[in-house]
């Protein structure tokens, strides 16, 4: 009897989430031209980033020993992971305004966990640009790259993307907890987003040692794409080859930690009183 209740509650929750998403998408599709322009702008952003890589590698054959296809795979994994995270959590970037203007109180009185509501009430369809861009680049790369595609390697690729999304999420949701205490967290979130978007698409090995160590052991950016990709290519890094397989585990641990921090901070939430 209890299992039936639990599964009905879960289905109910999922149904609400789906309705929220549909409402949000419908709303955005009203501004058709603006929507198209923003998706195009997003795609252009990805393209220019990759254009830069292409331009350099058309003159120099390799970057840190990685050829164009290999960098494209790295790029594609990171971008797809980021797109996957953004698909669910793109609305999180507005949390500062939300909490400050008392919108968070509204969430608390609804029959759905606040974080889920934050995730689904304003799915910005334009973030599809990130996901599409990532998949396209990854697809093009996988066709050309020199990887032996065993079932294990295919699994690693999928897990790497999932792990990357979880790491991305951890370093957005975790800092977002600061909003409950300080009414803003955007500087920290923007910095993490910047570091991951900027440095994450390149082999971490090209950085100098202090930076490389920070971005592997303290903020595990290297696990988002570089280490799994190195494992797939069977390319030596400063760590053993099997470390790439740790990516999903690292992601899961960081994500759960971030959720815990967020939940903890939200309990200390004092409404700004609207």
């Amino acid at each position: 009897m209890e299992e039936r209740v639990v599964s009905m509650e879960l289905t109910h929750t999922l149904a609400i989430c789906w309705s929220l998403v549909r409402a949000s998408v419908r709303g955005q599709m009203q501004y058709r031209t603006s929507f198209i322009m923003e998706v195009a702008a997003g795609l252009a952003y990805q393209s220019v980033g990759f254009l830069f890589v292409w331009a350099i590698l058309s003159r120099f054959q390799a970057l840190g020993g990685w050829t164009l296809e290999e960098i494209a795979m790295l790029y594609g994994i990171r971008l797809t992971a980021h797109g996957l995270y953004m698909l669910f959590f793109s609305n999180l970037f507005r949390i500062d305004d939300f909490v400050r203007e008392g919108g968070y109180d509204r969430l608390l009185v609804r029959p759905l966990p606040a974080l889920l509501q934050l995730m689904f009430t304003a799915v910005r369809v334009t973030v599809l640009g990130d996901l599409i861009g990532g998949v396209v680049i990854l697809g093009a790369a996988l066709a050309r790259v020199d990887v032996v595609w065993t079932p294990a390697h295919a699994l690693l690729l999928a897990l790497a993307i999932l792990g990357g999304a979880l790491i991305d999420g951890a370093f957005q949701i975790g800092p977002a907890a600061l909003t409950f205490r300080f009414l803003e967290s955007w500087p920290l979130r923007v910095i993490f987003d910047d570091v991951f978007s900027r440095f994450g698409n390149y082999p971490t090995s090209i950085l100098d040692r202090p930076a490389r160590n920070v971005l592997t052991f303290i903020v595990p950016m290297a696990f988002m794409a570089y280490l799994p990709a190195s494992t797939l290519l069977e390319r030596e890094t400063f760590l053993p080859l099997w470390v790439g397989w740790l990516a999903p585990a690292v992601g899961a641990v960081m994500f759960v930690l971030a959720l815990w921090v967020f939940a903890r901070a939200s309990r200390g939430y004092q409404s700004s009183g609207h």
């Binding site: 322009m37 702008a41 952003y45 830069f52 331009a55 350099i56 570091v195 090209i206 950085l207 930076a211």
Partner: protein, 279 residues
């Protein structure tokens, strides 16, 4: 005792600049200092970008002293100066014009004592003057993250100074034209974001144009963007010398003139649209 109104004094002839213009400049300068947190954030992100670019370029240079005749050290100076210059000449009114149209305040703007476009230029100039001292704070950081040296010759210094002024002109005009699109488009967000994204690459701030494949380089040579970064900084580092400096300045001057003509024509049309149709 006769009551006489004080005689209206004409504007002193030494004061050749319209006080309305000065007011816009001063307002813009003050506003720059209101955004201190944003400056810190900009500085952090730009230095991160500079660091990454240096790592990428050093990686492809792979220990070689020079590639295609460009020494490694010179390349890093190029990238560093490009970053600093980009901060200095960043656009202001491309964010102003569409806001004023959306809020309708443009209606009051056009009845002010000086023309709308002069007000906008005042805001731009004020932004530049406000940022200049702030730039000095960025220089020491840039020297550590990248590499900064003075131009190698007097010719390079003078050439760069002239080229920088023209580069600023091109930048103001290009972004002004983007801003003017607000009179015809409901939202220029997408267009603006798009242009911000590609501008760095097209201008040669990420990959100096010497390294680009010929076809791409030819295309970029036909666009005004190279006049914003590549041409001036190529002079700065002493890569463009002698008569070539004059050639570069001529190209920049051409764009300043051409874009000014276009801007005036577009503005006339926009103003007509505003007055006749109410925006």
């Amino acid at each position: 005792m006769s009551l006489s109104l004080p005689r209206a004094r004409p504007l002193p002839t030494t004061w050749r600049v319209h006080p309305g213009f000065v007011a816009c400049v001063m307002a813009s300068i003050r506003r720059t200092y209101a955004y201190r947190a944003r400056f810190l954030l900009w500085l952090t992100r730009t230095m991160a970008q500079l660091y990454l670019l240096r790592m990428i370029w050093m990686s492809v240079y792979d220990g070689r002293d020079a590639v295609d005749g460009i020494p490694a050290g010179m390349l890093i100076v190029y990238l560093t100066v490009a970053m600093l210059q980009e901060f200095l000449i960043q656009p202001v009114i491309v964010f102003e014009i569409d806001q004023r149209i959306m809020r309708g305040t443009v209606a009051t703007d056009i009845v002010r004592p000086i023309g709308f476009m002069w007000q906008m230029l005042g805001l731009e100039l004020g932004g530049l003057l406000g940022r200049a001292p702030v730039l000095l704070l960025a220089v020491p950081v840039a020297m550590v993250v990248g590499s900064l040296t003075l131009p190698p010759t007097q010719e390079a210094t003078i050439g760069y100074a002239a080229s920088l002024v023209l580069a600023y002109g091109i930048s103001v005009l290009v972004w002004m034209l983007v801003g003017l699109c607000s009179f015809w488009m409901t939202s220029i967000h997408g267009l603006r974001f798009l242009l911000f994204t590609v501008e760095g690459f097209l201008a040669g701030a990420l990959v100096p144009l010497w390294f680009l494949p010929d076809t791409l380089r030819t295309v970029l040579a036909l666009l005004p963007f190279q006049g914003m970064v590549f041409l001036p900084i190529s002079i700065y580092i002493g890569q463009t010398t002698g008569g070539d400096i004059l050639g570069a300045l001529a190209v920049q001057l051409f764009w300043v003139v051409a874009l000014s003509v276009v801007a005036v024509l577009v503005w006339r049309r926009a103003r007509w649209k505003l007055v006749v149709q109410g925006g």
